[in-house]
């Protein structure tokens, strides 16, 4: 099921440039999120709550090798990084000279690798050099990939090594897991505490300023393109670690296990960063859509 999801995602990408991102891939994975449906608040009403609360929205991937992670049981660190059957097939194809397979994996990972490089080096040109070096390292190292880890983990490790070397004295000694440690992330509240009744008040912990409704006619103020630009801006305001995780999960459509394996971080740490990122992006949309309502 996981393999089918990735293949579907690749078909979506191969269908042409500018292919929509994770929303389409999630549909193809059959997770039940309807990108055009009732929860499409930014093109439709958010009041029609149609979908069940248990909609698997970016939740744990239940297919194939990821079945190991069912019920949120923490896998051992080694288990998390095991290659899947799809990895084995992919590496065999790459060793066999399958140029299409190579082009596909480059297209899939190039963006995430650029973002990873950006955690260590400054500027687009430097990041592109790191990623270029990474791919050359992957090409040269294919015979040495021993399948003790997933393929993505291996590629990300190569990239991290290149980025750390390039990143200068300050960054060289910092492993990726430390850069992505929520304890070092400028967290702050997911939502302004003043949105809630303070402890000691009658309805302590309840909403003081409830979420502003995104009324159906908000869409008349907002074309889809504006929404995408707004979200990109909101992402740019996030810390690099938050942006990195949310982009992988919600734009690139990676599952939780894929992100944890590639970045070698715990599901808990990943969730904290994701939570902070999504909370802030929602708040940015709320500000914009509340203002739009008043316009």
């Amino acid at each position: 099921m996981r393999a089918a999801g990735r293949d579907a995602g690749r078909r979506a990408r191969d269908a042409g440039r500018g292919t929509p991102g994770a929303g389409v891939r999630r549909e193809m994975r059959g997770t039940g999120v309807a990108a055009g449906g009732s929860c499409d608040a930014l093109g439709g009403s958010c009041d029609a709550l149609g979908a069940s609360r248990r909609t698997d929205d970016g939740g744990p991937d239940r297919g194939g090798g990821a079945a190991r992670y069912a019920a949120g049981v923490a896998a051992s660190r080694d288990d998390l990084f095991q290659p899947t059957a799809e990895d084995i097939t992919l590496v065999a194809a790459l060793r066999d000279g399958d140029e299409q397979a190579f082009a596909r994996i480059v297209d899939e990972l190039n963006g995430p690798l650029l973002r990873l490089a950006g955690l260590y080096v400054q500027g687009r040109a430097a990041a592109e050099e790191v990623v270029q070096d990474t791919w050359l390292g992957v090409i040269r190292g294919l015979d040495r990939f021993e399948a003790r880890s997933s393929f993505r983990t291996w590629v990300f490790r190569i990239a991290t090594n290149r980025a750390r070397t390039r990143g200068g004295r300050e960054r060289r000694d910092i492993p990726l897991s430390a850069l992505l440690d929520p304890a070092d992330d400028p967290g702050g509240p997911a939502l302004d505490p003043e949105r809630f009744m303070a402890p000691g008040e009658q309805w302590a912990g309840g909403w003081a300023v409830p979420p502003h409704r995104w009324a159906p006619d908000a869409e008349t103020h907002l074309a889809a393109r504006e929404t995408r630009a707004l979200i990109r801006d909101a992402l740019d305001q996030l810390s690099p670690a938050q942006r990195f995780v949310m982009t992988l999960r919600d734009i690139d459509g990676w599952g939780s296990e894929e992100v944890c394996a590639a970045l070698e971080i715990t599901p808990g740490n990943q969730r904290v960063l994701l939570h902070r990122a999504r909370s802030r992006v929602r708040a940015a949309l709320e500000r914009h859509l509340a203002a739009a309502d008043r316009a």
Binding site: R13, R17, G21, A22, G23, V33, A35, C39, D40, A41, L42, C46, L49, A51, R53, T55, G58, G59, P60, G72, R95, G97, E99, F102, V106, D107, N110, G111, Q132, W135, L136, I139, L142, P189, A190, L191, P193, F196, P199, A204, G205, W207, P211, T227, R228, I231, R232, M246, D250, I251, D252, P267, R271, L274, H275, R278, S279, V281, R282, L285
Partner: protein, 105 residues
């Protein structure tokens, strides 16, 4: 939520954990809920709260809408020239592996 942990940590909260019976707690727990990472009893209390609290139901749906909207942000594709260069390098390496004795790879 706030790092001092006072908001959303009502009497129903486990030590150090947000209370899903409060709205502030729901806001803190919403990602874990969507990730299916809540303990069953916490999830049950979270959903029970949503049954009675329209504002929190709205918040949850706004979170879902945010995720769906993010999914429409265009994926960056590798530039064709860059991809061509990399495929060329790959092709050279594949040939060199097949013909280790050949000259000039």
């Amino acid at each position: 939520m706030s790092s001092d942990g006072t908001v959303g940590r009502g009497p129903g909260a486990s030590p150090g954990r947000p209370d899903p019976a409060t709205c502030a707690g729901v806001v803190e727990l919403v990602t874990e809920y969507l990730e299916d990472a809540l303990d069953p009893d916490v999830r049950a209390r979270f959903e029970a709260h949503l049954d009675d609290c329209e504002e929190c139901e709205v918040y949850l749906e706004q979170m879902r809408a945010t995720i769906v909207a993010a999914g429409r942000v265009d994926v960056e594709h590798v530039a064709p020239a860059t991809l061509d260069r990399l495929v060329a390098a790959y092709r050279v390496a594949v040939r060199a592996r097949r013909n280790p004795d050949a000259h000039g790879a």
